[in-house]
Subunit: 339 residues, 3 copies
């Protein structure tokens, strides 16, 4: 796809600085762009690359315009404009609708003519796909699953029986939605399985990364609201609710029955215990451990930066005696108020 | 399935308080139950919901009976009774035995008439399935694998060559059993692969969550004993032994050659280094790091709760100098005995 | 496969102590070996097992020769010799080339006669497999993917469109290469998807463990250089570069745009934030959190050993006030220089 700079400015509501007739045919980074490309400056860390860019044009905020050696598309949100321009210039390959002859489709499944079911995929009895749905190679859509219009499953996704998926979702390869939650009742030394009778309800515009897992609820449903984005290898346990537009990076785990508000952000490898309530707009930085409910929006942290190994070992050894050593000194001061 | 309250009391060995003729047809939570449902009180956190429940009956301990506004099934272990009642009232759909025409089954594989092999599944040469085994859509049972009776594989499970699986196991989608362990010998700057010649032996009544991985042993076997429960995205490395009835929550990782005792409990995201020995009945709380062998049963912890970000950064900065700062003071006291 | 001890000494360049005619037919551990087996001593922790071994011969360093009760193959790198001997004595089953009738192969895909495509596998349009490539059951090779000669995909691997894989790689089950990176631009309260237009380029002799994920780049490529070894459940985000011969153990996560040098070693569950630069030969011990770039080779740590729960809670409570408590004392000394 290609366009003139003027067309892009108009379509994506930017102020244009430069020649509206300039032809643009791709996006690129500041450092690698050629004159036919449009680039962007959103992260100030890359500001130093701006003066030397060979891009045809750069999408940026007004404050950086003076430093831009080429044409510019000025916006208050250059990264979002970049995302839309990139979608426009690099559309996904169009998909031929139809059911591959190697797929297994139950006779009572609903597969509209506009949907695509790729090779080796399985559509179970009573499943219902919306218009324009894409089911990748080897994906399995279980019995009575519903998939909203234009949702895309990459190869080898599994949707277990009865889960409900919204519109325009994207699930990457290896995602499993609706496996049993982890519920067992202790009985003497062994465990009795607690049947996982709930389902999973996923809203519209949800994206889930490769090999992530979302378990079905114990009695009621596990719920992922509209616009949530989960990265790869994320675990969402049974009975969790993830609020709209929350983003959760790779290797995070949310334990059972925890409720997360809207627009929260979880950095990579953040883990949260169960039965918590996290308010809207809470941010957890990389590798934090969430052990308590959060009632105030804001940023929360909990990871120690890796340190030179010998120093780390010494400090960790001191930490192991932190309470006792402090206690000694404080008691000497008649000031112990702990525990 | 439905039953009278009296039938449930008798079948599951509870004391009945209330009308034995009360019809019960489902389980539900205290807060959402309707009169046809039986609910339960096992976690005292939900005690406040008991007086207002609309359940037909509640499974609970004797000490809560006075607060129960409806009929009760009294038991010393209400959660286990609940689990069994739920299994009884909500049986899994019955499975038609047979081999789907799209499955690939080796001519010398043993598949009893009572087993079910779903669409797109693969059963390799020499594999042997027990009575009533269920092989989900797209699952792959490798050469010479044995699967005990009534074990169920969800869609897209992989059992690599020669692994041995017990009876009544449940493996969720994406589980991989018998991939190569991570073994390489350094040779100058590159690595030589150490062949992983051992197998995997899994006992009876083991459940493994979605996308978890259990590697084959280097020379001898990786072993998961009877009744072990693994959650989603768990890694069990080569040569590990997990003792009977141990439970391991999501995102845990057990490194190579570590041996875990019986009835241990690993909270979510606990990771253990290799070559450890963990005794029976050890409990590791959420996100702990197990760096040493454990010889005494008990509870072990190792995670810091996420804190307000600014305070966390200050504390972490202090920690980085903990040894030096303490050392200084202690030396001044002629009291340094560390390292 | 079997050989005499003399043949092994010659083929693998060891000094022989003992009878060159001794027949050897397998490898084994020191403690379980029988007289037809060759064992090895590489980890000094197993030295105590040497005097009692029943192995026919032991591969070891010269310094341990005197303690060896049986024949020996003396080498300066016994573990690497062991790895090669094990490969030699226990060759993988030979693979019949050919395309299984249940596989789906695009008409314009290149599949040489020497390649094997197993049952239910999918080879997309324009894909190109090298000589001797093995595609396991149910694996999906996307459009325009190239796979170098003798690379092996276990069952259920997914290579998304256009990724480039080198020679002699081994990808275990559930690996996903080329899923979209996690890129979204905030726009008011929701998120706009940033198209992931780059690819993934993987060098020769790379091994990737079960259910690991490698995302495609945003604009340029994600790159894994020659000889890299990734364990199970590892996440490699978009735009990452992993230098040659680096090894990364299970449950590690490398965030977007981080660059890792050559011959680095990541212990299990190490996580690194994005946009870092890690130099060659850096070592991160188990469960470290990498929050800063590393410019000097060496060993870095960041995990606290799990401790008895009560002591841990007390120490963690002190930690939460570490800055304030230290600050108080230091201010009293007119010595506060922090923040």
């Amino acid at each position: 796809m290609s366009a003139t700079l003027g067309e892009l400015a108009e379509r994506f509501d930017c102020e244009l600085r430069g020649d509206p007739a300039l032809p643009i045919n791709c996006v690129a980074t500041l450092s690698s762009a050629s004159p036919g490309a449009v680039s962007f400056l959103a992260n100030p860390a890359y500001r130093s690359q701006l003066p030397d860019t060979n891009a045809g044009a750069v999408i940026l905020e007004e404050c950086f315009e003076a430093e831009c050696p080429v044409a510019a598309l000025v916006s208050t949100n250059p990264y979002a404009v970049y995302a839309r321009v990139a979608q426009f210039l690099h559309p996904l390959p169009t998909v031929e609708p139809g059911i591959d002859s190697s797929a297994s489709v139950a006779s009572d499944a609903v597969v509209p003519d506009s949907a695509r079911v790729c090779s080796q995929a399985v559509i179970g009895p009573g499943a219902c796909l919306g218009e324009g749905v894409f089911i990748g190679e080897g994906s399995v859509v279980g019995a009575n699953v519903t998939v909203g219009e234009r949702t895309q499953l990459a190869p080898r996704v599994v949707l277990m029986r009865g889960v409900e998926i919204g519109k325009r979702c994207i699930f990457h390869s290896g995602v499993v939605v609706g496996g049993d939650g982890f519920g067992f009742a202790r009985d003497e030394e062994s465990w009795v399985k607690v049947p996982q009778l709930g389902g999973v309800v996923i809203g519209d515009d949800v994206e889930i990364g490769a090999n992530s897992t979302v378990d079905r609820g114990t009695v009621e449903n596990t719920v992922i609201e509209d616009g949530v984005k989960l990265d790869n290898l994320v675990q969402i346990a049974h009975n969790v609710r993830v609020g709209a537009h929350t983003v959760i990076a790779a290797l995070c785990g949310i334990s059972g029955s925890t409720t997360i508000g809207k627009r929260c952000m979880f950095g990579g490898a953040v883990v949260a215990v169960g039965h918590l309530s996290i308010c809207d707009d809470a941010v957890f930085t990389f590798h934090s451990t969430v052990l308590q409910s959060v009632t105030e929006s804001g940023t929360y942290s909990g990871a120690f930066p890796a340190d030179e190994a010998k120093r780390w070992r010494r400090n960790a050894a001191r930490f192991k005696r932190l309470h006792d050593s402090t206690r000694g000194r404080r008691e000497a001061d008649d000031a112990d108020t702990d525990d």
